[in-house]
Symmetry: C2
Subunit: 531 residues, 2 copies
């Protein structure tokens, strides 16, 4: 990407925001489509290779980064081979269905007994609209539907020593109270002149007008500051008696101090995140529709499954890899280039002739754990009893997040994500046997959802990413991005390139893996055509 274009876009973006940005891109002759496809990517074309021959590339790992690499290089005429240790494509993009069998690093084997059509996305489960994952879904014909990442009728559940502890609270009620009190307080402070250093009279008028709508608060009561701009609840919270042919009776608000002490408002910013804000999407039928669509586009014969890499090295003319298939015989493969998409903390342990500083850069990545359980119910009680059609209940106990299914509404059965947790909570659940995980998840879930949570359980399947073979973690973090380790892996080491979501600023998302793969594809291809 030419620096001048980046600088220009950055400049107009900073000065004028997205609107000006869009106009400026038009002025630059960039279509909005190109503008939206960031980071920009110029796919290599077969014609580029006319002078250079069909180079060969070995790709270690058939996760999203490896698949994207093989897909883009393959389209241009490179001879790609993916070596994948698992018996399926996708890596952490893994949809568990009835019959899925997995043995973890502790030797525990689970076999999923989900009914036909029921599944759990054990890895990634949602796509922001702006991710290139969505573009690949379009290109590969993977059908998309809405993923419900936010639901006003889902619950917030907070334990601790405060007055709202142990009480499931609908998001809508929490939001109404927090926004109501925030608005009341800021309107009072503004009206009483506490912010006159920062606000003109016009600002103050506009701010109070906003707050009255935002918080659904009362008007100014002249001569009575305490009574002014009062928040007293209202229909946004929900109703004790819903409106019918007679007026409804809204639920009354919680007290200000109770709301603040509970911390229920601290979850709201989740839904403002660049990558978490609704609208979000999911493939119809499971996230693994993406890797299987890649597999089809690349060619099944280009992927060797069950291939565990035992060594790789740069040679004078290219690269060489040793691997075993099904744990038995050792095979060798050679190619002009190698793209390693194996998780860095695992790649660092594989014998190679990479320089020590490259190996230590790989080992510098810190894996993080995450866990999920899918619980299939014979009755969609969350729809029938709670009127919840998708979305997330967030708890500050080890459950973390509980996902209600985003589709199949009113079906006979449904599969909830009973927990999606990270870090210490994931380790706590991960230390249990699959059977114990279900028992604990059901007990904790029943605190929020009542006894229905314990009934009609048909089957379950849990994943602990720290003990998942070939992953040994959910994703990684870099203690620093500015100390040279990360930058070192952005460059090839001889004929060996690195790619994966860990080589992006969108870690733990398929988008990051794709963006990294595309960057690697461009770098490799530029080197080939420059030769």
């Amino acid at each position: 990407m030419p620096q001048t274009r980046r600088d220009f876009l950055k400049q107009v973006g900073i000065a004028g925001g997205a609107g000006v940005m869009l106009h400026s891109m038009g002025a630059l002759g960039l279509s909005p489509a190109a503008a939206a496809e960031t980071p920009p990517f110029t796919p290599p074309k077969p014609s580029d290779l006319a002078r250079h021959g069909r180079k060969s590339v070995l790709i270690l790992g058939g996760g999203i980064a490896g698949l994207t690499t093989a897909y883009e290089l393959g389209k241009a005429g490179y001879r790609c081979t993916i070596l994948e240790a698992r018996e399926r494509p996708g890596g952490r993009n893994w949809t568990v269905r009835g019959g899925s069998t997995e043995t973890d690093l502790k030797g525990q084997t689970q076999r999923a007994a989900f009914s036909s059509g029921q599944y759990m996305n054990a890895g990634p489960g949602r796509l922001p609209q702006h991710h290139v994952t969505v573009d690949y879904c379009r290109e590969l014909g993977v059908e998309l539907e809405t993923f419900v990442n936010q639901n006003a009728d889902a619950y917030l559940y907070r334990t601790g020593s405060h007055n709202l502890a142990g009480q499931p609270i609908r998001h809508r009620a929490a939001k109404a109270d927090v926004y109501g009190y925030v608005s009341e307080l800021l309107a009072k402070a503004t009206d009483q002149g506490a912010l006159d250093t920062y606000l003109t009279q016009a600002d103050k008028d506009a701010l109070i007008s906003f707050l009255r709508s935002f918080g659904s608060i009362g008007a100014k009561e002249n001569g009575d500051p305490a009574a002014s701009y009062k928040y007293t609840g209202g229909g946004r919270r929900g109703y004790a008696i819903e409106p019918g042919v007679t007026a409804g009776e809204p639920l009354s608000p919680y007290a200000l101090s109770d709301v603040l002490a509970s911390g229920i408002g601290n979850y709201f910013s989740f839904e403002f995140g660049f990558d978490q804000a609704m609208q979000m999407l999911q493939p119809v039928g499971g996230m693994d529709r993406i890797p299987y669509a890649f597999e089809k586009a690349i060619g099944r014969d280009k992927i060797e499954y069950g291939a565990e890499v035992s060594a790789f090295r740069n040679t004078s003319s290219g690269v060489e890899v040793e691997y075993s298939v099904g744990g038995r015989r050792t095979k060798k493969a050679k190619a002009d280039f190698l793209v390693c998409t194996i998780p860095p903390h695992i790649a660092a342990k594989i014998p190679s002739n990479l320089p020590a500083d490259v190996v230590s850069a790989l080992a510098y990545a810190r894996p993080t754990n995450a866990g999920k359980i899918g619980i299939e119910y014979d009755r969609r009680w969350w729809e029938l009893d709670h009127k919840i059609y998708g979305g997330i209940t967030n708890a500050n106990n080890e459950l973390g997040n509980m996902w209600y299914p985003s589709s199949g509404f009113h079906g006979k059965r449904g599969t909830m994500v009973g927990y999606y947790n990270t870090g210490g909570s994931a380790n706590t659940y991960g230390a249990l046997t699959p059977k114990e995980r279900l028992a604990k998840a059901v007990a904790q879930g029943a605190e929020i959802h009542g006894p229905a949570y314990t009934k009609d359980v048909r089957s379950s399947f849990s994943v602990d990413w720290a003990t998942a073979k070939h992953s040994e973690g959910a994703w990684v973090g870099w203690p620093s991005r500015t100390d040279g380790n990360y930058d070192k892996l952005l460059e090839p080491s001889g004929n060996v390139y690195f790619a994966g979501d860990h080589m992006s600023y969108t870690i733990a998302w398929q988008h990051g893996a794709m963006v990294s793969a595309r960057s690697t594809v461009e770098a490799l291809h530029n080197r080939v055509v420059a030769a």
Copy 2:
């Protein structure tokens, strides 16, 4: 509904919120399912009528209220006949598809040329999870999918004399800036003691902790109040350069005064509304799947289409109706009871022997206008160029709201709602010919979306509810609900009952029509069985 139960629920609801409510309902022996189904409804049963015979009921209007009435009474064994002026069920629940033809009260005829599978819901277009409409969809087998009522990547567009005028602003950017500045201001006021009358130290600490997450603001800078808790933008707004293998460059925030003067924050509270908060739903394939499912359940032979009522009256033994079919011959029908679901301002004009105060109560309802245009495009440019997959762009010009389709993502074609406006804006558009409406909508839409909005238009269809035959308005309002007019219509006048969304506190929603119909069904049935 026994008053004691209502009082009890109201009491626990007010004292403890939804959580306590749920527990109390359990304590009362009410299942959560029953709790959710409010207002409560006891459907009449065939066995109830054993002693009383199969009473006959004429229902004026085959909209949602009329269909619900016929469905519930029919299940219990009543002999129901619906007289519907249109040639289809649903009334304002109207899905326009290719071939749909309509002539308005000004004599203008439109014939929709939408492609196969494309449609516009001219009337209701979305369902909150808690509405009984959703229960009827389950009962009648109408498949549901998500309706996207909120999208961080849709735009806000504000004209006026302020610095953000005429610039499309992504919801996410507007939200980040408004929440950022609100948080900065409230944190400053709180920290500086301006709210010490209202907040304890613990409250203050919890509030500031919340605001730092909510607004993504900086920390306290000791000794420098102006620099403390600063909002300086960030990734929530979106990026000038998106993150890739290198860090992204977030778009910079707008200035505080510009944000406040623009009023862009005043739209946010829309999504907090009890009936508008996400998650929302829509029938797969069009909203009219609901009336057609009712028609099938009731029996096609129970509905006479094209039946325009010219008179109705109470008789000594029941009711009598005169109506014409296809504008030709006059027919008469008699029954034990009549349920009038015709819009009140139209019902008031039909000759009857209703008492003058009942007629004047009907005429007391004030119709409001609303308008919509469906524009089918041969290219889903909102997805391709803007990365918008459903949701609403809100403009403060006559367009009001623009809806991107909530499903069919990545399809060949798509149909946008180019405007959904009310009141004066609806009247402005309604005064134009259909051709002029499209031209104006496209010109105004292009201000927001750029030239793509003017290209690839395949067909369009617009509705102006004020000039829609048999509706003459989108919905009604009551100047007062406490002066006796509304209450009068809650009671039968002789053997004539009234129902419709106007007879509810959920006007303009199908839920209101259903709740009203169920209330009428209960009242009529209680009278029959008490006789």
